[in-house]
Amino acid sequence: MQQLLFALFTMIIGVAGCAIYFIASNWALDWIFPSKGRSGAAASRNLRRSNMIRPWLFLAPALLALTVYLVYPVIESAWLSFHGKDGQQFVGLGNYRWMAGDGEFRQSIFNNFLWLLIVPAATTFFGLIIAALTDRIWWGNIAKSLIFMPMAISFVGASVIWKFVYDYRPQGTEQIGILNAIVTYFGGTPEAWITLPFWNNVFLMVILIWIQTGFAMVILSAALRGIPEETIEAAVIDGASGLQIFFKIMVPQIWATIAVVWTTITILVLKVFDIVLAMTNGQWNTQVLANLMFNWMFRGGGDFGRGATIAMIIMILVIPIMVWNIRNAAKEMEGR
């Protein structure tokens, strides 16, 4: 309880500190370059000067935080990836060479590509189908809300939920995991899904698909509603079937949104960590880059060089999407 009060206190201090900074710095600026009550030339010169400085006063705290927590670490990580265990000794490409030959790393990158192949595709597919279907029924909003709900659940919480679904009891005893119960009901043999080679990756992916479909659905649903009615009416008059309208008229019109959903989930997939840590911790060939990186951060007292090198690989995989996003944003700015 005391701790919570401490948190609230810090929060108030933090917010008040920010407010005081903004008020005081702006007041100081007006005091140094007064524009009110001065004669024409001096006033306009002071106004011009203070207008040059003021944006930077507004931006300063944000820029400072961004620099310390994101920009500097990116540069530092790149630098560390060329250094040894404790970040002191220069090893050149040593870490990268080690990585290329490391079996666990190869396994991770293979698994990451599997995730990249399956999760964004499945999520977008389900999101699109659900968005299109729920738009046509009266209880669509309730359905959407329920499918959207897993978005609020933490990856760890979701892992517990699904571990319970996948729970395995030896054949002959009563299954308490619903998946094995269904399998045995239809006469199959129960499996320990999480240790099943190769397919266990898919069972972990199901968790992320389950969480993220709601996200895809919400965004694609809004995009579908934005399609001009006339194009659909024209297609109906021309005698197109429901499926034809969906795939030939509606989907092409929302390609841009599908791309946004796809890339957003791709980024998320590259960083997937909690699910693997909670479900298998990389055992049974389910290792992924983010979990491997976390391992090396602390394994054997922590190998910062190797950890940073694995982080660099994730970063390099993200860069194409980053460039694409920046170009899109720039294009949009020009249109304004």
């Binding site: 935080a65 946004v260 700015m333």
Partner: protein
């Protein structure tokens, strides 16, 4: 949407069915968790949670009173009583031996050895009768099958909140999440206004930087920041792990999204309002505080929800920047530990998991509107 009301064909029926199937598929796992967390721990281990909603069958045994309590009625010797011994219940079947505990249906008359008959009614009343006086010191055993109504208990929650330390972790999670949500808002709002409405060289570059930082993986930041924190800790003789460090870390990591969301929103505010205020002699600071901030409430709320859900649900940042001592764990960290140490104890895992997800679920269902709006503002670009 596709030819909406014009067609009332079997197709609509298929749509309803498909959506229903998907909804069930999506909610079933969570429902299983919730129901299991409320069940008795012995029951969880032996039967699926889906059986918990229907009355369950249970076999029990009752020993009838000894033969010396028999009374003579119409020339027969009779022992009567009730298998529930004063309680209530419903008997569906009964029997006389361990091998066949459900040989007879309730109400049937069973003939035992040496001319003794036994009958058990549905309400548990039994009659054992014999033409000859019954001998022996011990009464007959009556095996019966009874249906037990669904039973739910809060015991699991009591157990995890006290003994498993979930209560402490709950407070830790709140301690992490609340300041981490509030502090970035003001910082981001000022920056967003500057990027939206003030003219200065390098503005486009800064916006590009924010968009770029939006997707930088957290993994890039962990090691350098850990080193930085360790150095600062050593310099000032304080622990490098603590709440201040994690608040600032969450603030830094949340800023790109905050600035991006708020800038998009603030840039969309009508130009006339800003300009008329400026003509009236208001400074940028006044405009921001008196006009932009109040108008941006929906965007601020959207971001606050995102950031709260993200900091509450975060595991990675807490693992790295907060200690792993028992009293320092946040809910997600505690849950991962329990998964490792109590992997088979589903009564503990399900109750713990539900405690970790209850706050986000409440936030989600009460503020869904803002969440959806924020998602749309943050993602749909040029779409």
């Amino acid at each position: 949407m596709i030819g909406s009301s014009s067609r009332r064909s079997p197709l609509t029926f298929v749509v309803h069915l498909t959506v229903l199937f998907l909804v069930v598929l999506w909610t079933l796992p969570t429902a299983g968790l919730l129901i299991s967390s409320l069940r008795d721990k012995d029951q969880i281990a032996v039967s699926g949670w889906w059986t918990a909603l229907a009355p369950s069958k249970q076999n029990a045994v009752y020993r009838a009173p000894a033969p010396d309590t028999q009374v003579e009625q119409n020339g027969r010797y009779v022992i009567t009583g009730n298998v529930f011994d004063g309680g209530t219940g419903t008997v569906s079947a009964f029997g006389n031996s361990v091998q066949t505990p459900d040989e007879f249906e309730a109400g049937e008359t069973a003939t035992l050895s040496d001319g003794v008959t036994m009958t058990v009614a549905e309400n548990g009343d039994f009659t054992i009768s014999s033409a000859e006086p019954m001998k022996g010191r011990r009464g007959e055993r009556i095996f019966y099958t009874t249906s037990v109504p669904p039973q739910f208990t809060l015991d699991n929650y009591r157990e995890v909140l006290s003994a498993q330390g979930l209560g402490q972790s709950f407070i830790n999670s709140l301690t992490v999440a609340i300041p981490s949500t509030v502090i970035p808002i003001l910082i981001a709002a000022f920056a967003a206004y500057a990027l939206a409405w003030m003219k200065f060289p390098g503005r486009a570059l800064l916006i590009a930087l924010v968009v770029g930082l939006l997707v930088v993986p957290l993994q890039m930041s962990l090691i350098p920041l850990l080193r930085l924190y360790n150095d600062i800790g050593a310099q000032f003789g304080v622990s490098p792990k603590g709440y201040l460090g994690i608040w600032l870390a969450h603030t830094g990591f949340g800023l790109p999204l905050a600035i991006y969301l708020l800038r998009n929103y603030i840039a969309g505010l009508p130009r006339e309002i800003m300009e008329s205020a400026r003509v009236d002699g208001a400074s940028d600071f006044d405009i921001f505080v008196k006009i932009v901030l109040p108008l941006s409430f929906p965007a601020l709320a959207s971001f606050a929800i995102f950031q709260f859900l993200w900091t509450w649900n975060d595991l990675l940042v807490a693992l790295v920047f907060l200690g792993s001592r028992d009293d320092q764990l946040v809910l997600t960290g505690r849950l991962v530990n329990l998964l490792g140490s109590r992997g088979g104890n589903w009564e503990i895992l399900t109750a713990s998991a539900f405690i970790t997800i209850i706050v986000p679920l409440i936030v989600f269902f009460s503020l869904q509107r803002f969440l959806v709006r924020g998602l749309l503002a943050g993602s749909v670009k040029g779409g």
